[in-house]
């Protein structure tokens, strides 16, 4: 029944899946750029953003058409709306990766600090985990508890704090300070990537439960761990 409609929905989700994988690779790529301080890699990553943008646009164009023509209701309406928002979050994640690459380019040649780089790596990997988990919940339409995602946010916070302490302790050298500023901004980008990953989880919850709830909010303390 409604085969055309079903295949359109499947196409949308396939595009989103693609985009999700690409976003994950972008995060990994950004971390690589930071790790290796490789200008060529940075340029490749910046160019790579086009791949994600093309899928973003494709989804953006199809959704109004789908809504107008197929009038989805119930679960399918929530699915389409979830795809709409997740699409946006993924695009923003990719943009932040580009920013990290640009920051790395600007910081090229400056003296680096190992601990800071490790902290950034830690943050980035946790982001990838959160992104992967949120998307998994979405694909599986299974959302038993939001705690797991919130829990994953903590290591990012910890790494971030460690990083800031480290940066503050860095030497008086102007080039060191410049590098510290750039890395500060890079960590801010990674933090935002983490936020978007949580948002993706929220969309998955909305899809499954039918209600929209925020897990964490900047203006409120995060809920205490229950275990």
């Amino acid at each position: 029944m409604r085969e055309l409609y079903t295949s359109e929905l499947e196409e949308l989700e396939a595009l989103l899946r693609d985009e999700g994988q690409l976003a994950d690779r972008a995060i990994r790529g950004a971390l690589n750029v930071l790790e290796r301080d490789d200008l060529e890699l940075a340029d490749e990553l910046i160019a790579f953003d086009d791949e994600i943008d093309s899928r973003y646009l494709a989804i953006e164009q199809r959704i109004p058409s789908l809504l107008a023509r197929q009038t989805p209701v119930a679960g399918e309406l929530r699915l389409v709306l979830a795809i709409l928002y997740i699409n946006l979050h993924l695009e923003r994640i990719a943009d932040y990766c580009v920013t990290v690459a640009k920051l790395a380019k600007l910081a090229h040649g400056l003296p680096r600090d190992r601990a800071v780089l490790e902290a950034l790596e830690e943050m980035g990997e946790r982001c990838r985990e959160m992104l992967g988990t949120g998307l998994e919940y979405f694909y599986a339409r299974d959302f038993t508890d939001s705690q797991a995602l919130i829990e994953m946010d903590r290591p990012i916070d910890r790494a971030n704090r460690k990083l800031i302490d480290r940066l503050i302790a860095l030497g008086p050298d102007e080039s060191q300070r410049e590098w510290a500023m750039r890395m500060m901004l890079a960590s801010r980008c990674l933090e935002r990537i983490g936020d978007h990953a949580v948002d993706i989880g929220e969309q998955a919850a909305y899809l499954v439960r039918g209600r929209f709830e925020e897990f964490t909010d900047a203006s409120h303390k995060p809920p205490r761990a229950t275990t």
């Binding site: 029944m1 409604r2 055309l4 890699l41 791949e51 093309s54 164009q61 197929q70 009038t71």
Partner: protein, 279 residues
């Protein structure tokens, strides 16, 4: 950690305009239809393209069915009907001298609002047109092919000799579709094809139309604009215009790709109709 070297192929299809390189099967130019002195529709200019589904929507009385029936000269059956302007089918003036209405109807088939199978067996219903039009070779195969194309074969293959009136409404309508396509028309016209059916049967008919689109040009009239939105590639909106004496006649207001009509119509009247505000 691997560098990101491979470029990933873009998976999305090129968004070609729906019409592309297709030929126009029907071309209407300044078409107007009168019943006696009463003007039914006027100023119709549009092309209907090959192997697309074209939907005609509009409020009641806007002349949708009237226009549809000009395409296969069924309006000839109404003694007072007359027509001005031009309607061409593959370049031939459909209402020109020497054009035989019966020949036209062989090429342009029609499925009606209420299923109207003949009071005979399922097999004979489909074979009726074939026998009369002299397409009797491999009759059984042709009947099977038509029933398969109408997504009805599996349900009736064991009871072809049973009366057609024993089928459900949705099945009867599919039988009428099979009967129409058995004689291999180029175009199939649908006059409110699912308005007499329940939602599940309606969905089945809509899926069927998508299948048929591969081989036939389809034109459907529907008062259910969501159906047009779901099914059609191109949509024509007929609105009502008031005459000097207070009576009304239908006019073609907008004709465009369905997606455009339902996301961003050019004419305010179209917007008003599809949003359910008036008309």
């Amino acid at each position: 950690m691997e560098a990101i070297k491979t470029k990933i192929e873009v998976t999305e299809k090129e968004r070609l305009p729906v019409v592309g390189e297709r030929e126009a099967v029907f071309e209407a130019r300044d078409l107007a239809v009168y019943y006696g002195h009463q003007r039914a529709i006027d100023g119709v200019n549009l092309d209907i393209y090959q192997r697309l589904i074209t939907a005609i929507i509009g409020p009641s009385g806007c002349g949708k069915s009237t226009f549809l029936r000009t395409l296969n000269r069924m309006n000839d059956l109404v003694p007072t009907a007359s027509l001005t302007g031009q309607l061409r089918y593959r370049g031939i003036d459909l209402y020109g001298p020497g054009v035989d209405a019966v020949e036209v109807r062989r090429r342009v088939g029609m499925v009606f609002q209420k299923p109207n199978p003949f009071h005979s067996s399922i097999y004979d219903n489909v074979a009726y047109g074939l026998r009369i039009l002299g397409m009797k070779r491999d009759l059984g195969e042709r009947v099977e092919k038509a029933l398969r194309a109408a997504a009805l074969w599996d349900e009736v293959k064991d009871r072809l000799k049973d009366s057609a009136l024993g089928l459900s409404g949705g099945q009867q309508q599919r039988l009428c579709i099979a009967r129409a396509i058995a004689v291999e028309p180029e175009v199939v016209l649908f006059d409110e094809p699912a308005s007499a059916l329940d939602p599940i049967s309606t969905s089945a008919i809509e899926d069927l139309m998508h299948e048929l689109k591969r081989d036939y040009t389809l034109v459907i009239v529907t008062h259910n604009m969501q159906q047009a939105a779901r099914v059609a590639d191109m949509t024509a909106f007929f609105g009502l215009e008031v005459n000097a004496d207070g009576s009304r006649h239908g006019v073609l207001v907008e004709y465009d790709e369905t997606e455009k009509i339902f996301t961003n119509p050019s004419d305010k009247r179209t917007e008003g109709y599809v949003t359910g505000r008036f008309g």
